[in-house]
């Protein structure tokens, strides 16, 4: 992978979109070219005393020279969202990219965009791009409450009734099967949201019989079926017992304890950081997109960069065979 190139930037303005979602307007030090929808920005953050990086989807093309992101303060934050919420206008930032791993295919006969909660951010940019291009699309946007529908009012003003919102509090549900059935052949769906929504979308897509590559999704590896909690990992071969704190990934905890691991994407995509499960007395919360549903059900392996355990601990084996 290419070395990350950081450029200085300034936080120009912030605005509360909801009680826990904040819009940040970032002004890079140099001129920027418009970016395609789905792009994300790398931001250097400090987690306590430790530098780290986070990725945030851009809300629009940045054609006016500003990068706009929306950040949700997460209760299970590993520190990134708390840092981003603590920044004041004028703050100096280091940014990288933008990069795009969630590219929008042009020229499809129809598009279905599905957003859950803060997952609206990349789909916001896609909706604006598709609207600008005059492409047929629908954006389905779900959140817990009316108040949690960040960006909905602004979007409705720009794309009108192509935006459809539902909330849990109103008992709403996105009918994914019907929405997918309404897509013309060759149409594509783009999904970003909590794990359960993406699982449901993958299932509905598979049941529709459409080609797998027509469903596009992005995962930031946050959120699973269960809330994050601390758990214990035992590695008999290494005679180690390691506690994974609530706000750290299993991969990070293993590395911090000196267990040799290889990894790359840290999004549950590449499958490099997987370990073998020998025994689990808790429930494995598979949060990756690397394993198939059948593999997850078999529970023989897990992706340590995103997946967790709740209600107990786990016994694993790693690649280490040093005598």
């Amino acid at each position: 992978m290419a070395a990350t190139h950081w450029i200085p930037a300034r936080l120009r303005a912030t605005r509360a979109l909801t009680p826990d979602i904040r819009l940040l307007e970032i002004e890079p030090s140099g001129p920027v070219a418009p970016v395609p929808p789905g792009s994300h920005l790398g931001v250097a953050v400090m987690i306590g005393e430790r530098p780290d990086t986070r990725s945030y989807s851009l809300l629009d093309s940045g054609a006016d020279g500003l990068y706009r992101i929306a950040v949700k303060r997460l209760p299970d934050s590993r520190g990134g969202s708390a840092y981003m919420h603590g920044l004041e206008p004028g703050a100096r930032l280091s940014i990288s990219g933008p990069r795009n791993h969630f590219g929008l295919t042009p020229g499809r006969p129809g598009y279905l965009l599905v957003a859950g909660g803060i997952g609206i951010t990349p789909l916001h940019a896609m909706a604006l791009a598709l609207h600008g291009a005059g492409s047929p699309f629908r954006l389905l946007y779900a959140a817990r409450t009316r108040q949690d529908l960040a960006l909905a009012d602004g979007l409705r003003a720009r794309i009108g009734d192509r935006l459809e919102t539902v909330t849990d509090e109103a008992g709403g549900r996105i009918d994914l099967a019907a929405a997918i059935a309404g897509l013309p052949p060759g149409g594509e769906a783009y999904v970003c949201g909590p794990y359960g929504m993406m699982e449901a979308a993958r299932r509905a897509w598979a049941e529709s019989g459409r080609p797998a590559q027509g469903l596009r999704f992005e995962t930031f590896g946050t959120g699973g079926r269960h809330a994050a909690e601390a758990f214990t990992v035992r590695i008999p071969r290494l005679a180690r017992e390691i506690v994974v704190p609530r706000n750290q990934t299993m991969l990070e905890a293993l590395e911090a304890a000196g267990v040799g691991m290889i990894h790359d994407c840290r999004r549950g995509e590449c499958g490099l950081c997987t370990v073998k499960i020998l025994d689990a007395d808790g429930t494995v919360d598979h949060r990756d997109v690397f394993f198939s549903d059948a593999q997850k059900a078999a529970n023989a392996h897990l992706c340590t960069c995103v997946s967790r355990v709740v209600g107990g601990g786990i016994t694993i084996d790693t690649a280490d065979r040093a005598g």
Binding site: A33, R99, N100, L104, T105, Q213, V289, F291
Partner: protein
């Protein structure tokens, strides 16, 4: 003065002759990007980034499975939109996996690719090159692939035909060209250089094709369409028969056609043709005209080829910017201005390389 090496990305560039693209995977470097071209089963041309997402092996070294390309290294498969449809040794597909797909349009016998933002790839913006495909025009051209000069040097060459007097003496060049005044006009997309040489001795090429004795009125009306297409309306008619006023019935008329595509900063692909509207059924004449242009180093375009590559070598050895310009360079300088304007509209400094755009997964 902008860096003359830059080129716009939001434009259609000729990438191949339509007849060259079939079911074989055809690699080509366009605008500093490696691209693989192939014809889908429905007859349309697909263009993908020629590098596997996984380990960058050129996909052109793999093979086609239906409309999809399988990498020849580990078997990853990509569809014509660049989406990965198969990954080895796993039951799922990495959602980031894709290669860039370039919008492609086949028109005027050429395959045109859009190298910039795919959302802006409007087929209506393909440059007007209809003389290459439409009656009454007939001709067979070719391509200089990998011509070792910056693409703008070719445009400069075509926008100022005084060079014919010296580079093409004995065929189409004569001193009337350097003696005759010319007029340069432009719109926001096109530049036209028009020159009339009235009552002159025709140069050998035109005398032969006119096939009638006497003085002629000769014209060269060169139309550049930004960023890289040139179509030159050329011909002669018996002097005083009204050609300049619109009656070309007493003459012969052809078009030289050029679609130039940047390959790298110092090389380009030069798609050329010479089409005519006289003796259009004469296939021998079509062949002869083709040979007159490229003839083992002795054709008209071979002569240009030598000059252009020598010019680029000189620039590389002893760069001196800017060039000195003469009044004859007015057409070329307007062309440069239109090209630079397109680049500025893309928010790019013409000298500063190429930012990531489109679907590229880095």
């Amino acid at each position: 003065m902008t860096d003359p090496k830059g080129y716009p990305l939001n434009a259609w560039y000729a990438a191949a002759w339509g007849h060259e693209i079939g079911r074989a995977l055809t690699p080509r470097r366009i605008c500093d990007k490696d691209v693989v071209l192939y014809r889908r089963t429905d007859g349309a041309v697909a263009a993908l980034e020629d590098a596997c997402w996984h380990r960058l092996l050129p996909l052109s070294l793999g093979h086609l499975k239906g409309d999809q390309v399988m990498c020849g290294y580990h078997g990853l498969v990509f569809d014509a939109t660049g989406r990965c449809t198969f990954m080895p040794a796993q039951e799922t597909i990495n959602p980031s996996a894709c290669v860039r797909a370039f919008p492609a349009v086949e028109r005027y016998r050429l395959v045109w690719l859009w190298m910039g933002d795919p959302a802006l790839a409007d087929p209506d913006l393909v440059p007007d090159f209809h003389w290459n495909s439409d009656a009454p025009w007939v001709g067979e051209g070719g391509t200089f692939y990998g011509l070792k000069c910056n693409y703008r040097l070719v445009i400069d060459n075509l926008m100022d035909l005084t060079h014919e007097t010296y580079v093409h003496a004995g065929s189409i060049g004569d001193e009337a060209i350097t003696r005759s005044p010319f007029e340069v006009t432009h719109t926001d997309r096109c530049v036209t250089v028009e020159r009339w040489m009235e009552g002159i001795e025709p140069p050998p090429f035109w005398a032969r094709n006119l096939g009638r004795p006497g003085h002629v009125d000769r014209w060269q009306i060169i139309r550049f369409e930004a960023p890289t297409v040139v179509a030159g309306d050329v011909g002669v008619a018996l002097a005083g028969t009204g050609a300049r006023q619109g009656d070309r019935s007493q003459g012969v008329n052809g078009f030289f056609l050029a679609a130039i595509t940047p390959e790298t900063a110092t090389s380009c692909h030069y798609f050329w043709n010479f089409v005519r509207s006289w003796r259009t059924d004469d296939e021998e004449l079509t062949k002869a005209l083709n040979r007159a242009h490229v003839n083992d180093g002795k054709g008209v375009y071979d002569q240009d080829h030598d000059v252009l590559e020598a010019q680029q070598r000189a620039i590389d050895r002893q760069p001196r910017q800017p060039f000195y310009n003469l009044n004859i360079d007015a057409g070329a300088l307007w062309a440069h201005r239109l090209i630079d304007g397109m680049m500025a509209k893309e928010g790019r400094d013409p000298g500063k390389g190429v930012p990531p755009v489109g679907l590229a997964a880095e």
